[in-house]
């Protein structure tokens, strides 16, 4: 079993304004990109489940020209609110880094 970070050159999360989080996952090369995408492990369903948001609220783009997957979700807690844990939203990608990705 290999992990997502073995295939990528960048996995990051960041606020897209105080009310949304956005994830950018950039792959090392075309093979890495194809292998992960064909595994079906990285999907809008996974994000919905992992971050406990409604599947319909997950926006998921596969940008082939950049070998990149971009995902945006509403923030579980608005940035800086009394019970927020990450004002910049910069650590929400943590659970994705070691995501098990099956090879074909």
């Amino acid at each position: 079993m290999r992990e997502l970070c073995e295939f990528t050159k960048l996995i990051r999360s960041k606020n897209a304004g105080p009310f949304e989080l956005t994830f950018d996952i950039m792959f090392k090369d075309e093979n890495c990109f194809r292998e992960v995408m064909s595994s079906g492990k990285l999907s809008a369903e996974l994000i919905a489940q992992l971050y406990r948001v409604d599947r319909k609220q997950v926006r998921f783009w596969v940008i082939e020209s950049l070998l990149t997957v971009k995902i945006s979700i509403p923030r579980p807690v608005f940035s800086g609110d009394v019970d927020d844990t990450d004002v910049y939203g910069g650590q929400f990608h943590g659970p994705l880094v070691r995501l098990p990705v099956e090879a074909d």
Partner: protein
Amino acid sequence: MKKIRAIAATGNLSTGFREETLVRAVQQGAHFIGCDAGTTDSGPYYLGSGNPRGPREGTKRNLRLMIREALNAGIPVIIGSAGHAGGTPHLNWTLEIVRELARENAWHFTLAAIDSEVPKEHLLKAFLAGRIAPLCPAPELHETSIRQAERFVAMMGIEPIQSALNAGAQVVVAGRCSDVAIYAALPVLEGIPKHVAFHAGKILECGSAAVAQRFYSDCMAAELDQDGFTVEPPNPTFRCTPQSVAAHTLYENADPYHLIESGGVVDTTAAKYEATSDRAVRVSGARFIPSEKYTVKIEGAALAGYRSIVVAGIRDPLVLRQLEPFLSSLRTVVERKIEDNLKLSRDAYTLQFRVYGSNGSLGQAEPCPQVEGHEVGLIIDVVAPSQSLAADILPIVWHTGLHHPIPEQQGLISNLAFPFSPPGADMGPVYRFCANHVWQLDDPCKPFRMAIEHL
């Protein structure tokens, strides 16, 4: 064919750039120097409190170099989102630095200040007239929440900046402002099409962030024409690649292809990024889709309470293996004590145990909150209606937690390792963002008040 050269001094006015890079960028030819000074990224505190994020000395140094180079070259300087949040106090803080620089250096120029703070009564009027609409997601906004909020700002588009330039301003200091508008205002005024100017603005707004490997924050430059723009870092050791520039279009933006701005949407679906050298990238093919109604975004912050915190470590494995029940029984005990001692019911304040080593970073969104390490860090976090109440609640919590029993240890135990004496601190007021709305305008300049000053 008319070409406009735009320089971004850096991604955020407080972070800085190298003097030699800015000098070189201006020498290569420039029509203006822009810089973004704000963001909502650091949370609602700055908008709510009216405090700038600073630092003052760094901001002053950067403004000094930008204004000096611009005055020498006879080109304008455009600062957006002054003082971080772009409210009246943030604008005034920045203007004071600019005036100080003019005095110290015997500079004479025309200064335009554009105030973007929206008085509550103005916003209320617009709200009641049905001209304020929520974005998604958004906190609920109503008459009471508008009245109770601390401060609102409207995010200006290109038009107020263009008015300032038309009025002969050599230095424009704008309150809350779209990052892209800082860089699109002058080119559009000079006849560059919006799809070029706005897309270039998005690439420039973070300064050197669009390079392949950013070693430190520095300047960025772009040359815009009728068909597209070429972006090339003025620092000779930095490089832009088609990949690095295209990737930057994604940054901090929820949708990779559609950038929503006041007045329209920049659609980059068909954008092309081509290397013109090993350091420069030509960008073309974006579309600008004008919106039916002109809107500006509204940001607001409201007071949520006052915070006091304590920092502690927990190392005893017997406590760690039952951490969740330990903290929930501690909560039950302290809620009763707070009620007895301070006559405060538990809904009158917020008590949070933030456990680092469990779910400190992600909170409820953490998929694996179980404790696996040999210790955890604990922040006891109290938010109450006044600072003195928060400060009164806090010792009840930490002192009770210090000696809170577990079944395996018989006798008085001390569970919390405090690194500090006193163990905690008052954190001051806490704010929350209370608006993510748009305001429909007939005149894009209407809510923004411009003042011209001859220094």
